[in-house]
Amino acid sequence: MDNTRRFSSPGELKAALGTEQYIASDEIATIMYLSQELGKPLLTEGPAGVGKTELAKAIAQATCRELIRLQCYEGLDETKALYEWEYAKQLLYTQLLRDKLHETLSGTDNLSAAADRLADEEDVFFSMRFLLQRPLLKAILSEQPTVLLIDEIDRSDAEFEAFLLEVLSDFQVSVPELGTLAAVHRPLVVLTSNNTRELSEALKRRCLYLFIDYPSIEQEMAVVRLKVPELNAKLARQAVELVQSLRSMDLRKSPSISETLDWAKALVALNARHLDIPMLETTLSILLKHESDLQRAKRWMQRPSGNTRPGEDFDTRPSRWRN
């Protein structure tokens, strides 16, 4: 029974993502919708922690599809991503089935006849039973439509990327012993990249492109209100404003949305009434994960003038290096 869902307009998709607690901008909803209509993979790029992976999870929930995730890393190869023969199981079976094999082969008079008969039974050992399905094959062979998330594709090697091209353009895989396996349903494919290296033109050509940037104050407010409803509105706004101004500073690692949420939860847990310096000092490490960033932010907050533009006179370079 196919109970998965297709959307008939970007608006519907946006609303559906909304019920899964994912606040999508019009841009995200429209491009996601196009990806569904065109049957093309969606490549999302953007800074870490803006909800790229979250988008794939939400779309899987919203469409009632199973989410199959392939986490990329350096050295990932076909046997980990696509399929592998389960040698141990094959061996075990031949051992256990020895009697049966003996029986099958007993009627033959010479060696070549035995070999022929064995060859007839070969299919048993190279069947789906012994094929260990890795995420890509699983997504292709699944009886139900699925969402395939290929996470952090930029971490994999260039060779793996090239291999992925075949899968993404035709959604079929050839296994030498079994022939070509084609997709039952085209999965919705979401690729994410943190842009640590340039992806190949060929891969980009096969995908739709979506750049997700840090959200605006309003969007981030909406996310915080949705995910941490216990935090009162005024405090939430102050918190979001602070995070936004931290992002405009030249930090080694800017705080992401997930870190804003962690911080908001921490504020709730600590029962904070308002944001004051001691409260900030104790909780700021949730937002900033580098000592130098922390020092910088603290110095900025302690300045008497307060909320002027943080990026501006926050130059720690010696004056002779400024221009």
């Binding site: 970007p10 019009d26 841009e27 429209t30 491009i31 919708y33 196009l34 209509e37 065109l38 093309k40 490549l43 790029e45 953007g46 023969w85 040698y87 141990a88 061996l91 090697d157 260039a158 060779e159 842009n195 290296r197 340039e198 190949s200 033109e201 980009k204 050509r205 995908c207 739709l208 492109y209 979506l210 750049f211 370079r317 002779r320 290096w321 400024r322 221009n323």
Partner: protein, 457 residues
């Protein structure tokens, strides 16, 4: 509409966005699904199918309104409709004192007329807009057309017009109202000019013939490159790097010579009932560690920038890169390279260099290096200098250079000058050369690529 989209794609390509045929086909399919009625959805369907690089988004955002919509300019108001015959008379009188050139535009403002296509065409010819095919010059073109129309003089005239009308006996409030309307009209005409300039440039871009083959550029010396050539080479670097990458990656892969990898061996030999028939070895890490010192003085800038670009694109083949730039002082620039392209990074570094008169001084820069960054150099490092070795008769500090060369695995000097010129004038190249393992001449991008290929072996 289709024609318009095709032109738009051509203009995007001219602006340096890589768009394949398959992608433009996708764009049309996307439009088929979402239609063109909703402008925002239309924009997004084209954007997601055509632009695959966040760096190209600004270009897209600039070109899109020029090609599609944004045509709804505020309507011109015709102030003269509203005037009584007496007032019209006074206005005509007041305007009479301006010369013909100003009168032309002033009349348009009083009658609420826009510039006709013929007038725009004439202006375009006059200011040279017909040849422009770069959006950078859009605002400049607008300024020139404004000048040709005597915009500033008309503005001044409008300011005194209210006064003159008052003297002629018009009600003060009415006179002010009138001139305000005329000023608003002038703003509309300025917007018209801006839009026209954008459209014209965009059209020129989409009509531009394809650039001649890149091969000749690859072999052109750095000092003979124009800005535009450089622009194209910057894009080419990416492709060269990709080609280089496959080659080097293959080489690194084949050069497996590490110790036995027990885990992988057991896994590989399960099919032989664990009789170790195929041996697997650990991959020997051949990724080099680089310390690059680049001369970014005017003569060397292009060479250094392209070198940094190449290295930037090859990051995943290199275990670690420390990049430095110098003119008379050393700057650590790896942080600049992390999230910017090398062109922007080099520009940024140059901004940090003190303004004014300075000389290339490698000696002093080496001293900086020894003092602050010696920790980056160890016996596994490949030490690369990109420079012409011209020190302006400063102390070359050979002692430091020799120590560094001694401490590193390899020392490679990349010099764009022909060997015949080494040692001439203020060149200290011949003094440095004996301490280097290899000195490579790289005066063109092709040579530079070959040099990078060598240092990754």
């Amino acid at each position: 509409m289709e024609e318009r989209i095709v032109k738009f794609i051509a203009a995007l390509r001219a602006a340096g966005v890589r768009i394949s045929l398959a992608e433009s086909e996708d764009a049309f399919r996307a439009i088929h699904y979402l239609g063109i009625k909703d402008r925002e959805m239309f924009r997004l369907s084209l954007q997601s199918t055509l632009v695959k690089d966040a760096n190209n988004l600004p270009v897209y955002d600039e070109l899109f309104p020029i090609f599609f919509g944004g045509n709804e300019m505020p309507p011109m108001i015709n102030p003269s409709d509203d005037l009584s015959p007496d007032e019209a008379q006074m206005l005509a009188e007041a305007l009479r004192q301006y010369n013909d050139q100003l009168r032309k535009l002033l009349d348009k403002l009083t009658n609420g007329e826009r510039l006709s296509p013929e007038e725009l065409e004439r202006l375009a010819k006059m200011v040279g807009l017909t040849q422009m095919d770069n959006l950078h010059y859009r605002e400049w073109m607008v300024q020139r057309m404004k000048k040709a129309l005597h915009f500033r003089e008309v503005q001044e005239a409008l300011q005194e017009l209210a006064e003159i009308l008052g003297k002629l006996g018009m009600d003060k409030q009415r006179a002010e109202q009138l001139t305000q309307l005329m000023q608003a009209n002038q703003q509309v005409i300025e917007d018209q000019l801006r839009q026209f300039a954008g459209q014209r440039i965009a059209e020129n871009m989409s009509d531009r013939p394809k650039d001649e083959g890149i091969d000749s550029l690859l072999n052109r010396p750095f000092n003979a490159l124009s800005d535009r050539d450089m622009e194209r080479l910057r894009k080419e670097v990416q492709r060269l790097a990709a080609a280089l990458k496959t080659r080097v990656a293959l080489r690194q892969k084949r050069a497996k010579s590490g110790q036995l990898d027990a885990k992988a061996t057991i896994r590989a030999n399960l099919k032989h009932a664990n009789v170790p028939i195929e041996l697997k070895h650990r991959e020997h890490s051949l990724k080099p560690k680089l310390v690059v010192i680049c001369d970014v003085s005017t003569s060397m800038r292009y060479c250094s920038e392209l070198m940094l670009s190449l290295l930037y694109h090859l990051q995943d083949l290199i275990s670690k890169t420390f990049a430095f730039a110098f003119i008379n002082r050393l700057e650590f620039i790896t942080p600049d390279l992390v999230d910017r392209d090398p062109h922007a990074a080099v520009a940024q570094v140059l901004e940090r260099m003190p303004a004014g008169y300075y000389n290339t001084d490698l000696g002093n820069s080496l001293e900086d290096f020894q003092r602050e960054h010696l920790g980056t150099v160890d016996s596994r490092t490949t030490f690369i200098i990109v420079g012409d070795g011209r020190n302006n008769y400063n102390d070359p500090r050979l002692d430091i250079f020799n120590t560094l060369a001694h401490r590193t695995r390899r020392t490679i000097w990349i010099n764009p000058e022909a060997p015949g010129l080494w040692g001439s004038g203020d060149s200290d190249m011949l003094k440095y050369a004996p301490s280097c393992d290899v000195v490579l001449q790289a005066n063109t991008l092709a040579q530079l690529t070959a040099a990078v290929d060598r240092l990754l072996t």
